[in-house]
Subunit: 489 residues, 2 copies
Amino acid sequence: MAKAVTVTSGTLRPRPLSRTLLFALIPTAVWFLLRPLIDPTPPMPALHACVGFSILAFLAALHLVPALGGIFVQANLKGRDLLKTYDDPVPESLGLVCASIYILLLIVFIPFAFSDFFAHQQQQPRKIREGIVVSEFPHQQLSVYLSSILSLLIATMLGFLDDVFDIRWRHKIPIPIIAAIPLLLVYYSEGGKTDVVVPIPLRWLLGSLINLGPLYYVYMSLLSTFCTNSINILAGINGSEVSQALIIALSVILNDLLYLPWPFGFRIPLYLLGRPTGVEVGGVWSAGMAYGSRELVERHLFSLYFMLPLVGVCAGFLYHNWYPARAFPGDTLCYVTGMAFAVVGIQAHFSKTLLLFFLPQIFNFLLSCPQLFGLVPCPRHRVPRFDPGSGLLHTSHAAFKDHPPSRLATLALRALAILGFVQLTEEPSTGRIVETTNLTLLNVLLLRFGPMKEDSLVKMLIGSQVAGSALAFVVRYGLAGLVYDGNRR
Amino acid sequence: MAKAVTVTSGTLRPRPLSRTLLFALIPTAVWFLLRPLIDPTPPMPALHACVGFSILAFLAALHLVPALGGIFVQANLKGRDLLKTYDDPVPESLGLVCASIYILLLIVFIPFAFSDFFAHQQQQPRKIREGIVVSEFPHQQLSVYLSSILSLLIATMLGFLDDVFDIRWRHKIPIPIIAAIPLLLVYYSEGGKTDVVVPIPLRWLLGSLINLGPLYYVYMSLLSTFCTNSINILAGINGSEVSQALIIALSVILNDLLYLPWPFGFRIPLYLLGRPTGVEVGGVWSAGMAYGSRELVERHLFSLYFMLPLVGVCAGFLYHNWYPARAFPGDTLCYVTGMAFAVVGIQAHFSKTLLLFFLPQIFNFLLSCPQLFGLVPCPRHRVPRFDPGSGLLHTSHAAFKDHPPSRLATLALRALAILGFVQLTEEPSTGRIVETTNLTLLNVLLLRFGPMKEDSLVKMLIGSQVAGSALAFVVRYGLAGLVYDGNRR
């Protein structure tokens, strides 16, 4: 309460930046960037460079977001914070700054990703120039990189256009499909496999492998649509978009790390889940879940190269987007982060695992469906309602004003009410539903745990995202063994 | 005069669109797109598809520019036409629509560019699936495509950011270098040659080939900087930017056509230039300047794939940008077209020939240097001055207000005055220069040919661009023989 009053009275100044952090992190980043050049070369030199770039991404986001905020306000990219008592304009679409830093660093990183090739070339320069055998540049990997960056850039562009022109949401839905075209093309050109392993219980019917063919491409473009839009619709309070992206990216990174060739053996204790042996590790590439498969290691390295700098920019941005927000992400951030997840899911071939990290988003999307598809009225904003007196957020409501709820809508809402996901207001005489709480995860949290402050709600959202990821790991490495044999996907 | 009055009195309505043209061109485009599928397959199927896409690009630009103009005005992307008597807001940055159409069609075109590969794969599906020999997708070419599109998209993005945030020109200069990074990377990964053929008169000193090494990359990034910025500074009157782009693109196309394997022999009559035989044509790939080199044909096909749709969007946009303009291109158009030229110049290896098509831009840039580098004062706008009474454009002036011209500035301006490129105003008593006409090609034209209407000036600009291209062809295919042997570059 006291805090809310303090914010109300003061003008909204940018958060202070620590110079100590800057001067401590710059040398660290430089060390990571230079480490691959020092003998003995580390086993994964590009990963070191990537960590260096990610620290730079963090610092750049941390410092550029407040520095450029004024320019965004001048260019009319600003908004009022709906859940506050003050009217100060907050710069909007700062996700563009994050996306620019992210994509620029990814482009500059490309040569590092191919450092293996360059190092090899330097070792035997004579042989290459004179002999017939020309050392072959891994063009295939390069086109994977380029198409991924292209997709990210299209997503950024479209997100920013959305912010500038305020595109209607029905027109927005197909946008990520356009952005995914380069991805799908390269997937095809790679001779992309469209076979899917059939879960054990269904094998009597479908066999152990099923070739989805063109349907697989439909699945992948839907994946990119889902990843971008699902973050976008679980938004509305300070820090919600970027914290979701941050937790998902960290979960993907944790999953990737399992597949790296660690110098020490490790096991995932799965005996709790009914399998006594744990996952066997080791092989040519030492430890890790890659079981000695160079391809798996490379795929997860690729994923790390895209996820680590994303964590950098998201963490830097979250500092300014945290309650009370000094900068808004705009749709740009949702688009670029969502597309980044789709990129790694598709290119590193772990789209099913990826979707497990989207549990809160899937829940929020399924819950939102009646409103998204017009069964229940959908107001312009579904964010929680702010009570200026108490400084607390309450559930927001959608009223059936124009027409009474259809039979299907009544059925759906009553079912959701039984599950405790909505609260209904009924006409006392007829028992007809006249109002429902909005169908979002945020409203469900407010309904379950009562009115709370905005920062408590975002912390609870982060908590549910973390819990979702923990559950995802259990499902992926525990239960998957019950429906799939092997762990290759 | 009468016309100017008409325009003044009416409100600025979009130009009418011909439905006949639409209904005539759509089937034409579809025919070109489907033609490669009909037996007998044409020798260059992708080129047919490209022509089809270019017609679609023309139609899309023609119809989307007026349709989206209102949205741009709403989003505050609008400007007043400085050289008109009316105050109607004209939508600005419509180059974004052109760039979006262009890039989207280029992305959709990618599979067509590889139709050779797909056709080949279809012919022998059994062999590929069963045998050990996997037909190899041309990943190298794909990465060339992807990096080119990536560069175009970065240029678009940066151009649009420039329009939204109004970046200062000193900050703008390095922007195209960033956009060129993907191009240069792929050039390098291709094992890009950095050798330059030395002109005959210098061979006694340097040998016949000189390896520029990293300098060649500097040259290429400067090329992209020059191509984008030089179109941007020769701007300011209705239709100037897009007509330059159109003529240059057409010149590149004409040059490309010389290298295609035509079914009939042809010669370029060079006897006028002192070489009696003309250029020999023919070889494996029939006629054309490629002399049977498949590589040369493919390079110029690549160039055509990028230039034909560019001509489409530019022609469609010019209709609305023509005097009196209904839409402004913004920096976006200059950036994307300039980058498109840099892309084909670099990737199809004819950067020197390309620069010859930029003769008016080179002249304008060299002439502008004293103002760009602060020797002579540079006002915010250097566009010609509009006289509302007569409706004519007059030369605009830059005055030495703060300080008298330096000795170097005086020398430069006097030299330019002798050449007839500027008109100086002197203080009668001391003879000191107090004012000069602005150092642009447009002012030179007004100085030489007297005040004229805006559309006459843009026609004269187009004329000089066409004359420049004609001269370029004479130099390239006539005089180049005097300093270079062979015609491979």
